[in-house]
């Protein structure tokens, strides 16, 4: 029984189509393919075919953590899928804003395969149903209001002509709720009416007092608000008062022709110059309309959970705004937490690198309790951390390949990442030649160097961590001052070019270097928390996660964790985005954002 079935009884021909649909399951992944791979799910081999747009999907697969902010976006995605559609949930999730899940399974590859079989049966039985239930999303309720394309300040609730320029008012949908945020990447940009009507979003631009209205024929008639001239009935023209108004024409090269009062023939001709006068101009000086496009939380080229609101001038980015819709709440939920629960809590903060955060929690607790661990377990822990670094870098390579349309690399990197996630020490030795072959072949791919060279340049003096910093020549690796790592022969890997190519190169070199480190550590054991007595003190620890150095401070009150404060690299990398992608072509901008390897999950608000 799928709630998103299509109207119609299951006749002969429709039965054939329903069985065809059960064999052709196109899936849209929430929160994203990178999270699915990080949790060890192999989507392709399970029979599901991931697609880029909800319009093409008939299965919505929800797995991994879905924060309240993401739920609203998930609901909008589900509303956009085409019937017959189904909802497939892995792992226990409370999805209030979505209808009941059609198929539920536990979060593992086995659960996925068994769920897909159940999904096939459900589709072939009930793709078409005589009675269907409608599904609606509060954010998509719209109210029609009428505005003028030349003067967006004029808004009416009923159709008519614009008082100022006589043009027909165009209908525009606006969220019926008061606040409306571009929640989701595939929402049809109803109120951004991109190419169809020419409006520069002056929504927040109030008419300051200095704007006054005069009649071209009778300059002595001056009013403060638009209307028609009492003498001749002509539409009054806006004119800045003599004092130059404090419009922030930031980079407007104001041709000093002032406000030409052209003579209007009968129809009150609306000159384009008035309209584009205060339009922000792009670098090439051509005043054109900018498009607001959300590249939202589930965009196939960006990490799951990251929302980029780009204002595009043609296909160059004029302005950008970044939101993390997947940021978690407080680390310590109840007033105090048992250490083992705290370690579990920290492990699932960032699904992309769970072991690194588990190690961070263990080290902080040991530092607080003053326990020091044997060299043997320390080496084994480093082996586990390095193995996760390789898996994380391979996951990033797969996402990078998906963004640049490099299908061969995406499939190879994804399969290797899945193998590395659960590889024992012996298996790592077996996998080593295939990883090195992948890296060598990647470095010889034509078009790659030209595609990534000097894109996403960062200024030298910015704060950055991990591979992004090492690509700029700054070595702030936490492993330098870790005696055991240095004993195992760790040396930082650096580049100078500070662009997407350098970051790619740093990550590839780190993979080869880490393989050597794991062999030196010759053991891979997931860190285990040991008992912490009834003590009350504070501890702190640093671990080099695959994305950079993470720093944790916590305070203990007789064996209970009271407060914890996590400082993750992605919080700093978020504000690198805007300066980096300013005036960049859209494809280059998305690739630059991708090269930072952001994990929106570790950003704690």
């Amino acid at each position: 029984m799928i709630t998103g079935a299509r109207l119609g009884t299951l006749t002969g021909f429709r039965r054939l189509i329903a069985s065809a649909m059960s064999h052709d399951l196109n899936v849209f992944l929430v929160p994203g393919p990178d999270i699915a791979r990080a949790q060890g799910l192999d989507i392709e081999s399970s029979g599901l075919q991931p697609v880029a747009s909800p319009r093409h999907a008939n299965v919505l697969l929800v797995m991994g953590p879905v924060t309240p902010a993401l739920q609203e976006a998930t609901a909008v995605i589900y509303a956009q899928m085409v019937r017959p559609r189904s909802l497939f949930v892995l792992g226990a999730q409370d999805l209030s804003s979505l209808p009941a899940a059609d198929v539920e399974a536990e979060l593992s590859q086995q659960g996925l395969i068994e769920g897909v079989n159940r999904l096939r049966r459900v589709f072939s039985e009930s793709a078409f149903r005589p009675s269907i239930s409608d599904f609606d999303v509060p954010i998509l309720q719209i109210r029609i209001e009428y505005t003028c394309s030349m003067h967006p300040e004029i808004v009416q609730d009923e159709p008519g002509s614009c008082p100022r320029c006589g043009m027909f008012l165009i209908p525009r949908e606006v969220q019926s709720m008061a606040e409306h945020r571009h929640m989701n990447h595939q929402k049809i940009n109803t109120d951004a009416e991109i190419p169809v009507t020419f409006t520069h979003n002056h929504g927040d631009h109030q008419h300051d007092a200095s704007m006054e209205y005069t009649c071209p024929m009778h300059p002595d008639v001056v009013q403060n608000e638009p209307g028609s001239c009492p003498r001749c009935g002509m539409n009054l023209e806006p004119r800045e008062s003599q004092t130059e108004s404090d419009h922030d024409h930031h980079h407007m090269d104001h041709a000093d022709q002032g406000n030409m009062n052209m003579d209007h023939d009968d129809m009150g001709f609306m000159s384009m110059i008035d309209v584009t006068k205060d339009l922000p101009r792009s670098e090439d000086g051509l005043p054109m309309e900018w498009i607001d496009a959300p590249f939202g939380p589930f965009f196939p080229g960006l990490p799951g959970g990251l929302l980029l609101l780009l204002t595009l001038d043609g296909d160059a980015v004029a302005r950008s705004e970044t939101h993390c819709l997947s940021e978690n709440t407080e680390l310590v939920q109840s007033p105090s937490m048992e250490p083992p629960n705290f370690i579990e809590r920290l492990t699932c903060v960032n699904p992309l690198s769970p072991i690194a955060y588990r190690l961070l929690a263990c080290r902080a607790l040991e530092h607080a309790a003053g326990i020091d661990i044997s060299a043997e377990t320390a080496r084994a822990r480093i082996g586990a951390l390095e193995r996760e670094r390789i898996a994380s870098h391979l996951g990033w390579l797969a996402l990078f390949a998906q963004q640049t349309g490099f299908d061969w690399l995406m499939r190879r990197a994804a399969s290797l990442q899945l193998k590395f996630l659960t590889a024992e020490f012996q298996q790592i030795k077996v996998l080593k030649p295939s990883v090195l072959a992948l890296i060598k072949r990647l470095q010889q791919t034509p078009l790659l160097k030209s595609r990534t060279a000097n894109i996403g340049q960062l200024m030298a003096d910015i704060v950055s961590y991990g591979p992004v910093a090492r690509a700029a020549g700054i070595d702030n690796d936490a492993r330098n001052d870790d005696k055991i790592c240095v004993a195992l022969g760790f040396t930082a890997v650096k580049q100078i070019r500070n662009d997407v190519l350098a970051r790619l190169q740093v990550r590839l070199d780190e993979i080869t270097h880490t393989l050597m480190l794991i062999e030196a550590a010759d053991a891979v054991v997931v860190p285990v928390s040991n008992t912490v007595g009834k003590i009350s003190s504070s501890g702190e620890a640093r671990v080099e996660t695959p994305r950079g150095m993470a720093h944790l401070q916590l305070t203990l009150e007789n064996g209970q964790v009271m407060t914890a404060q996590l400082d993750a690299p992605s919080t700093y990398h978020l504000n690198l985005i805007n300066p980096m992608i300013d005036q960049q072509e859209l494809g280059d901008a998305l690739m630059a954002v991708n090269s930072l390897d952001l994990s929106p999950w570790e950003v704690l608000q």
């Binding site: 003028c148 394309s149 030349m150 043009m167 027909f168 165009i170 009416e193 190419p195 169809v196 009507t197 020419f198 023939d265 129809m267 001709f269 609306m270 384009m272 309209v275 090439d284 000086g285 051509l286 054109m288």
Partner: protein, 172 residues
Amino acid sequence: MTAQTFFIGFFGVAAVWFGIVVFRTFSMVRSALALLFSQTALGAMFLSMQVEFLGVLQIMMMATEMTIMAIFMVMFMMDPGGLGKMDMTHQKRLSLAVGIVSFVAAVAVAVFIDWGPLASTAPDAAQQTVDLGLELLGRSMLIFETAGITILTSMIAAIAVAIQPLKRNDKS
């Protein structure tokens, strides 16, 4: 020969109707593509008049030209989507009168002049192409080469005009 007449008439009417749509529609991209389809109908008319090479050439060239015109219209127009129903014309009555007068004059010329004997057949397509080739590189070689050179100079001139003026530091 009625099939050929029908096709010529049909494509002629289509070309004129699309030509009218070009100026009546409010959406700019629609008017650019209307012009495109009017030129394509013209190319089809050439084909039905057994002028094969020029018909195919017309169909090919006009498609690229008019799409490039479409992007310029979106760039320059205030309301490319045409939802504001903005009337961007002036002196409508005068231009309508001049248009009709010129149409009537051309039709009068076409109807009242005695054209003399009309040829019934035209050389077949391959022969036409060969004759055109020989003509291009034979008698009117000079015209053909000057046309090529003028296109080159007009490309360079257009780019020179359109390039952003260098920001002279001394604001003269």
